[in-house]
Every structure is written in structure tokens, then in C-alpha cells.
Symmetry: C2
Subunit: 203 residues, 2 copies
Amino acid sequence: MIAKPDAAPKYRRYSSAERSAMLIDAGLACLARGGILGFTTENICREAGVSRGLITHHFKSKDGLLAAIYSTMYERSLAVFNADPGSGPGIAEIVEAEFSPAVFNRETTTIWLALWGEVATNPALGREHHRHYLAYRAGVAGALKRTAEKRGCEIDADTLAVMVISLIDGLWLENCIAPDLMSAESAKMACYRMLDPFLGPLP
Amino acid sequence: MIAKPDAAPKYRRYSSAERSAMLIDAGLACLARGGILGFTTENICREAGVSRGLITHHFKSKDGLLAAIYSTMYERSLAVFNADPGSGPGIAEIVEAEFSPAVFNRETTTIWLALWGEVATNPALGREHHRHYLAYRAGVAGALKRTAEKRGCEIDADTLAVMVISLIDGLWLENCIAPDLMSAESAKMACYRMLDPFLGPLP
DNA sequence: CCCTTTGTTGAATGATCGTTCAGTAGCATG
DNA sequence: CATGCTACTGAACGATCATTCAACAAAGGG
């Protein structure tokens, strides 16, 4: 048997950015399937169809990949703040976005749960969280301010933002671990009802 | 050197119930310190001061211990429902209990986060969760009903219970991963404000 | 004081973990 | 076609994982 000189390549080379994105996607799939315990080099690399050495090559370590994954999740959640071409979204648009099918589904919330469980005890991930969380809270507070001004209401936007974020995260959590007791519609209503006393009837 | 015939015992024997409780406490300490990744036989047995074989002996496996730990956490959260000698607590008493120092602290909420992250992907733990969650929701719904009747309000207690539980869990979550932005007082206020439109001013 | 019960030990096992690194090979460039 | 860069492979490493099990020993009853 003579080896063909132009046989199919053993693998394809990608740019660092492309391969990094592929590894992040593979990591997300592993988190969704098996939580943080399923987030192993073996699982991730099999999911991505690459060999075990690649995680270290593109990210410094498995923890580096996890940090990148955390950033990716936050960026996707923050997308709604940059989508608006005008002065920025109101709080109703944010609530609608956070409970849209792209965000409010079992896979995505399972990933969030796995990450949150790690944030509390992994210092590096804790710093990553703090960095993004401040931006997230500022975005929600800004949306609350815009809606309040439009309606002539006076509110403590920062405090209210923490409450809204807590409720959103709690609804994600319940939808993930007890999905039969929750719907996107009732979740949105819960948010609006909580905000009514401060901003008037929503949406 | 002659061995003393009545030297100090190498270890002490405990009843199965006592030793189980000790292993549960050790497991809780490990979860609080290192999340689900810190929940290893090595860590737990070192924390409890016993050898590695004991977890298998008293619980069928490490997963069995984790299920027992989940039950323990829920029982402690449900304690307030059984403490009241009368017809049961109102919703205000539950809110006060869930944000009391014994419950609303970083250690306890870190343990909850670690467990929630596992519930989503561990089927055995998922069943354990479902069993307790229904009792928990029923308890909260009962408290809401009692308060509503006393005030002559009409509410959908089950739906409202899910909202309240979501908000409580969300506030626990935020307090755990961003403790500098939250206090027990503001957390309680968030719950009361959400309930005001349904039940009138609380507490 | 012996004997039975059973809670407990700790070495051993095989699997899997994250990371390393010397070598391979895809692919753009000259 | 030859060269250089670097993405990539995959075997190997030592550490750690959960679990097993034969031997041990504490404590209570006879």
C-alpha cells in the first residue's frame, strides 16, 4: 500500500481567534450537559474534535478557558444594551430580552448555574464576575432611569437594579431546577409586578 | 518500650446516626470552602477526622452523602414552618426567617449555589430536589394564604409563591457572589415591596 | 473475662484528572 | 518547490479521584 501524496489532511488549522471560539462553544456544551463536573479537558476536547493539548495552547489553562466562557456569557447577556441605536433601552426591553427564548432556556440557565457555583469559590472567576457584574448593574440602572424619567418617577436606580437583577436570576434559577412550575410569560409578569409600585404599570 | 495494655483508643465508635451527622457537617464545610469541586472523599474525611472508607459504609456512595446533605439543607430552611405552634406562620415571618443571620450568610448561600449547580445535571439530586421543593412551595403558599385571608385579599397563592421563592433565591445568589452590594435589610425590603401590591404594606 | 457485633481503618485498585513537551504537519510566503 | 511559522497532535507524567475489602478494634452483653 503506497501512501497517497495528497491524502486528506489529518486536521485543519484555524486562526487563534477561530479555534478559541470553537473551544468556548465546546466548553459551553459540556457545562450544559454535565455542570462544572462535566467541564473536563477530556470532554471539552472530544466535543471540539481536537486533541488534549489545545486548551493549554490557546488559553493558558483550563481556568483560562473558564474565564473566557464567563466573559462570553456576559457579553451575550449585555448584547441588548448595545443593540438599541438611540439613547439605550428602557427596563421593559431588558426584561423582554432576558426572558426571550435565546436566553430563558434550560441549557443557558444550566450554564449560568454551573458558573455561579464556581464564582463563589474560585477567586480568579470571582474577579471576572465582579468586573462584568458592575457593567451589567450599571446597564440595568440606566434603563431604569430612562423609564423613570419618561414617566416622571423618582427612584433609587442602583438599589432597584440589584432587586431586578436578583429577581431575574432567581427566576432563571427556578426555571432551571423546576421548569414545570414556570413559564417565560409568568416570569416576565413577576418582574413587571415588582416594578409597578416604582414606575407605574409595565410594560 | 512496652506497650501499655490500656493505651488510649485509636478511634471512637459512634452510632450510625451520629457518624452520619458528622459526615454531613464535614461535607457542608467542604462545599462552603470549595464548592462542588471541593466535595471529595479526601477532603470530607479529613474534615471529619475519619478514614476514607467511612462514606461508603454509612452512605452507599458519595452521591448518597450529597443527597443527605441536600435534605439537611432543606430541613433547616423548612424549620420555620414547624416552629410556629399555632396555625402556621404568615409570609412576613418566613421572609424574616430566610434573611436571618443563620440563613442569610455567605457560607450557607455558597452551599446552596454548589447544590443548585448539581441539581440541574445530577438526576438523583434532581429527584431529591423536586421532592423537597414541592413541600417548600406549599409552605410558602400556605403562609401567603394566611396573610391574604387576614387582610381580606384575593391572590393566586401558588403562582405568587413561585415568585417569592425566586426572589428569595435570587437575593441569596447575589449576596453570595456580590456581597458588597446587598444587605439583609435591603433584601427583606425587596421582598416586601414585591408583595405590597398583592397583600398591602408589609411587614 | 471472653465473645459477638459492627463501626472503622488504610492499603490497594483502576480510572480519570490537568498539564507538559517534543515532534508533526498545515499553509502562507517567497 | 523550498522555507518558516505556528497551530496542532498525542504519548507520557504525576496527582488525585471514588470505591473496595480484608483485617482490626471498640463497646456491650453474656
